[in-house]
Symmetry: C2
Subunit: 336 residues, 2 copies
């Protein structure tokens, strides 16, 4: 069977050469464990976190030579645990491997009802990313009808879901994405405007798209994009922090100048509310019920881009930080 | 009469030479205006904001040659406005001048009941700084009994008031201040611990004073002190941002490295709630009633340091950013 392991810690943006695809023997299933056959891998920017030599407390960490950490949907093919039966479909952070022997007491597994929604959505709109998008807009962002919401990395899974929830709530939703094609796809999802951050006049375009200022900024990127957004925030704006692609791999300190003084000054002068949060804890089961309802009523799309074969996971993952043309959820189909 | 004007924009920390004391003619009182005799000047770090060539939208701004902006308590000595009578005592941002002709429609004036509390407290514990401290701990900080609260610039007016409110709420309160004398004075106010940020082992001392981590960090300074506090914050910690002495005069960008990546990473990983706010709006009238009650019951001290003579205001103000030995409110007595 095949696995993808860490070859070397990425320097800044990950490269395909940071990964290696290896053939290994099938794992042996111990008492209490289940043998899982991976069906779908979830390619999330968050995985980048685990690939640093130094990580923040409580985060997963991968050493060179170890299997890449990440969410997956898998089928139980052998069970030595009375809570699981052969044929069960589960979701869990079981990593980039074709088969895994997992102790559910160490790696939590959530059983998926395959009759309710396509099983791949368990790591997307009907899972943690969907709950995160819901929390951004409702639990943390408290978006109200008529407000202006700006979402960075709007083409991503969380961003594109949050944007559509914003429209359902009656807000004006402005996306920020990299490239005209992504923006065109987002406008088709119903966004009011989408601005390409790679454009020379990005700041002017963004200001023009937000004539009344910004009430809520859902930040998935940080960096230069966020520094461009800050001057447009209204007094009392909310800023849910869902990610910061621009800083993955930077560690705690980036090259100067120091932008923290300006950020603190803006927080104080504009009475900002900046919030980190745990999407599953904030969104909870209610988020999944809301999202299932919006999908049924046709109000929420959940585009998926699918790459076939575990050996192609590194290339697809690297694209998240580069010029990935997809919007929505990026998945690797490992088996049917 | 005497005024203090801006001689030149301070570079970083203000110097006495950035100010000039000048003799000018008494102002002429126009219809609708009142003539105010300044009694007390309030020396707040916030004034530093107004002394930059570039200011954030909506903030006061002083050009070289203009009177220094700042809060004061004053007596009406002539009135051409039917809402004010000679002898009224008022509080407002009327600046560093012995006399001022003021249009209350342009510069809001709040009448002070001199029988209720010493009039100097109108720019201190019974005014905006008191409301800010109340908001830090209650409206924004939501401090609960048994939690650990850390307060930077704990010797300042806002810090020392917030610290005592923390004790009233039943929290463990740890102050951060510059110098053993300030720390000793703060321990006398009832704080559980006080750490001198100038000590070589500041980080170790702070960690030792917060064995269970930090639930609420009231930040009045930013900079290196705040970067030392961040690793000790617990998941879900609240961080009311009340000021950032370390960054006054820095503008939007300081010298590298860039600490914004680490701050964003901490916000996200620790689920932080970072809030700027307007103390008067959040604390409101309830804050003043609570504070008056705590003063009457002896639970809240409000130490004042008094400097005599408007000509000594620059030296006293400069001391706020240097080695000022005072704790509590710093006032200039201009007249009786």
């Amino acid at each position: 069977m095949k696995q993808v392991i860490l070859n070397s810690y990425p320097q800044g943006e990950p490269q395909v050469s940071d990964f290696a695809v290896v053939e290994v023997a099938m794992p042996v299933v111990a008492e209490g464990e289940v043998l899982l056959e991976t069906l779908w891998l979830s390619l999330d920017p968050l995985i980048r976190f685990a690939l640093d030599p130094v990580t923040i407390t409580g985060r997963a960490h991968v050493e060179p030579g170890e299997v890449i950490y990440g969410g997956a949907v898998a089928r139980v093919v052998e069970s030595r645990n009375s809570d699981f039966t052969v044929g069960d479909v589960v979701e869990g952070r079981t990593g980039w491997t074709e088969y895994a022997a997992v102790d559910p007491a160490r790696v939590p597994l959530r059983k998926i009802d395959a009759t309710r929604a396509p099983i791949s959505t368990a790591v997307g709109v009907m899972g943690m990313p969907g709950q995160t998008a819901h929390a951004c807009m409702i639990g943390i962002g408290r978006v109200k009808a008529g407000e202006t919401v700006v979402i960075s990395a709007a083409g991503g899974m969380v961003g594109s879901t949050a944007a559509q929830i914003g429209k359902i709530l009656g807000a004006r939703v402005v996306g920020i994405a990299g490239g005209a094609d992504k923006c065109a796809a987002l406008l088709e999802l119903g966004l009011d405007a989408c601005v390409n951050y790679k454009a020379d006049d990005f700041a002017q375009q963004l200001a023009a798209a937000c004539p009344e200022g910004i009430d809520v900024y859902v930040d998935n990127v940080g960096g230069a994009v966020t520094l461009t957004v800050l001057p447009l925030l209204k007094y009392g704006a909310r800023m849910p922090v869902c990610g910061y692609i621009a800083y993955y791999g930077v560690g705690m300190e980036g090259p100067g100048p120091d932008h923290l003084p300006g950020f603190m000054r803006t927080i104080m002068s504009k009475g900002l509310e900046v919030r980190g949060f745990h999407g599953q804890m904030v969104g909870g089961q209610q988020a999944l019920e809301d999202i299932a309802g919006w999908i049924r009523s046709g109000q929420l799309q959940h585009p998926e881009a699918v790459v076939d074969g575990i050996e192609n996971a590194p290339q697809a993952f690297v694209g998240i930080f580069g010029n990935n043309p997809y919007i929505g959820k990026l998945l690797v189909r490992v088996a049917d």
